[in-house]
């Protein structure tokens, strides 16, 4: 910085030298700056050569960071807190936070957003003390596409094509929660067959979603055979979905008023084959993983959570049940015909990774139990409500009736009007409470549609589960939460 030196008034530089470094401990605008070593951060020194702080070039101009030694505790805490959120609220004792330690002993590293074990584009910031994780901050939003805003531009008929892309591993649940909300506002009663078809499909979807979780969790823990097995069985379910709805994923099959079509011929046989195959295979997974010492060491007492903590952080689904809280919306606040089928709510004890694994594995078995009852009890009748306002006419009628054609056209272009009001519906998705808060202003498009994504809320548990654990276990903990980023970011 010879130019800067030259431009300084000679007297000023002499004065600074004369007063010496001890008289001026704080940096001054006239402080001589060393050339930046790497480009954007450089040390500021007094003319005597003493380093007083760091200057960082930011988008808001140069910012001086004083040295750690001169910052007080509250400043330091705030500064670190801005980078990594503390593991939240009631569960953290402020005196537990070692402010001194967050100085030089710890390191902040990023995992993601492009990391295979984050199951999408999740970024985790870790504060590490050696290999121990102190604090974690999940950073989300990389997959945000404004689906709630999009929903305000789509009619209620088109709405399910939108929501089905949120939680792409259990699309039918998303479609169903929206349909239930719309039907609630419309005040229509579904024909029994539609309700049973919905139960059949969503339970199959729960099986496929949990199988997918078993597969990816196995891969995260190094069990690639489990990954192959999980995908293999999931493919059977998806093949049935393709036969029924036309698509493997993003079905747009469950719509306000019922379902898009009836079940295909021979569906009972297909479903029976799925049940008869997947159920014995869960015993194989049991053999492969549950008793395996390596798997148990990597899951037992890792990522522990108490019931109070889970409730305080609004965690739902298998995570809440693994802590011993028997809360399942299918049982506690039944919707559709869940009060007419027999199944058990699986709960864990310790709230660790292993409990979350066993809850999900056993939920596959319970879902298959439900599916078998649904096959038995499936009534005949309409698969959608015979309400001319909501339901398009059957395809055959369009060829012979002009009114039917116009009606069909109207339903799919303008949609139907939904009475003014607001409603919150919630169902038990494979990941927890999937809620939909729907506000209607009386038009054919939702005024506001808010989806309460269980993954979005469940991610809040990560900092707490990872605290005090090892970095290598962070992958396992993240996997055990089963986040689907499409639903987190929406």
């Amino acid at each position: 910085m010879t130019d800067a030196d030259a431009s300084l008034p000679a007297g000023g530089a002499d004065d600074a030298d004369a007063r010496g470094a001890t008289d001026r401990p704080v940096p001054h605008p006239d402080t001589v700056l060393d050339p930046p070593p790497s480009g954007d951060v450089f040390l500021s020194t007094t003319p005597g050569g003493e380093v007083v702080g760091l200057v960082a070039e930011t988008s808001e101009g140069d910012q001086e960071l004083s040295r750690r030694g001169v910052t007080d505790d509250s400043q330091l805490r705030r500064e670190v807190g801005a980078v990594l959120r503390l593991p939240e609220g009631v569960v953290v004792d402020p005196s537990n936070i070692d402010v001194e330690q967050s100085d030089d002993d710890t390191m902040i590293i990023n995992m993601g957003p492009q990391h295979p074990s984050t199951h999408g584009v999740l970024r985790l910031m870790f504060e590490l003390d050696g290999e121990t994780v102190l604090r974690t901050k999940p950073v989300i939003g990389y997959l945000h596409t404004g689906m709630e805003k999009t929903a305000e531009e789509l009619t209620y008929v088109q709405g399910s094509t939108n929501v089905t892309r949120m939680d792409y591993l259990s699309p039918l649940h998303n479609e169903m929660v929206l349909s239930l909300a719309v039907e609630e506002l419309l005040g229509i009663e579904l024909p029994p067959r539609a309700e049973w078809i919905r139960m059949l499909l969503t339970e199959l979807n729960r099986v496929s979603s949990h199988l997918m979780w078993m597969a990816t969790n196995g891969m995260d823990l190094g069990s690639t055979s489990m990954m192959i097995y999980g995908f293999r069985e999931r493919e059977m379910v998806l093949a049935f979905f393709e036969k029924t709805t036309g698509l493997r994923m993003n079905h747009n099959f469950i719509r306000p008023g019922g379902t898009a079509a009836d079940l295909p011929d021979g569906w009972e046989d297909d479903v029976s084959v799925i049940c008869d195959t997947v159920l014995p295979r869960t015993d194989e997974y049991d053999e492969l993983l549950t008793g395996q010492p390596l798997f148990r060491q990597r899951t037992e007492s890792i990522g522990r959570l108490s019931a109070e903590e889970a409730l305080a952080l609004s965690l739902t689904g298998p995570i809440l049940r693994s802590t011993g809280v028997p809360w399942d919306l299918r049982r506690s606040m039944p919707y559709l015909r869940y009060d007419e089928v027999d199944f058990d709510v699986i709960v864990g004890t310790y709230g660790d990774n292993f409990d979350r694994y066993s809850v999900r594995l056993n939920e596959i078995r319970e879902s298959i139990r439900i599916i078998r009852q649904v096959v038995e009890k499936m009534p005949a009748g309409d698969y959608r409500v015979q309400d001319k306002k909501v339901t398009p006419p059957p395809r055959a009628r369009i060829d012979e009736s002009m009114e039917a054609l116009i009606h069909h056209f109207k339903v799919f272009t303008e949609g139907f009007k939904v009475p003014e009001g607001e409603v919150y519906t919630a169902i038990e998705s494979p990941r927890g409470e999937l809620g939909c808060y729907l506000v209607s202003d009386g038009s054919s498009k939702p005024y506001r549609m808010h989806i309460r994504g269980p993954s979005f809320v469940n991610l809040q548990g990560l900092p707490l589960m990872m605290r005090g654990g090892l970095l290598a276990d962070a992958v396992a903990v993240c996997s055990s939460v089963d986040p689907v980023m499409g639903e987190v970011d929406r």
Binding site: S59, G81, A82, R85, L86, E88, G89, V90, V91, I140, G141, H144, G146, E148, K149, E153, L180, A181, E184, L185, G187, L311, A312, L313, S314, L315, T316, V325, W327, L329, S332, M333, P334, Y335, L336, E420, G421, E422, V423, Y424, T425, A426, I427, E433, G435, Y437, V439, D441, Y447, R448, H450, R452, F456, V457, L459, Q460, D489, R490
Partner: protein
Amino acid sequence: MTAVEPVQSPAGSESGGTRPRAAGRHLQETVFPTRGQYLEVVRGYRDGGFEMCADLCGVDYLANPGRPLPDGVARERFEVVVNLLSLSQARRVRVRLTVPESDPVAPSLFELYPGVEAMEREAYDMFGILFEGHPDLTRILMPEDWEGHPLRKDYGVGRVPVQFKDAPGPR
């Protein structure tokens, strides 16, 4: 609770049905506290057995100012809608707080339910509602340097250029 009771929605009183068919039947219990009562009302529910705050979201009523509200509730632009859940009673209650456009500030529920942390951040990000007492009120879904709050009704759709840093300008 404070001296002034929050306004109960008329629909809330007739919620008794024969069979609790679906998770969220239409006539849910709803209360409309003022901003001063808000924390006390929610605290009352929490102490009364509502263990979990299931959902919190914002609504912008700019385009629908004439929405039905019970008498005595200030007709403001924004609403913070809180859905509380009682596991022990298998019951839900909805708290709707109206927030004026000129002063979009709501008290944070973080001290009562730490689980609202992400949800309040989302409501702030999407609607610009400020939550007083929130530990880390930053954008959560949108980029940090994003301008505007996308779910507001006056936020232009399709007319806003891509705002990412270093993105090439329109050609």
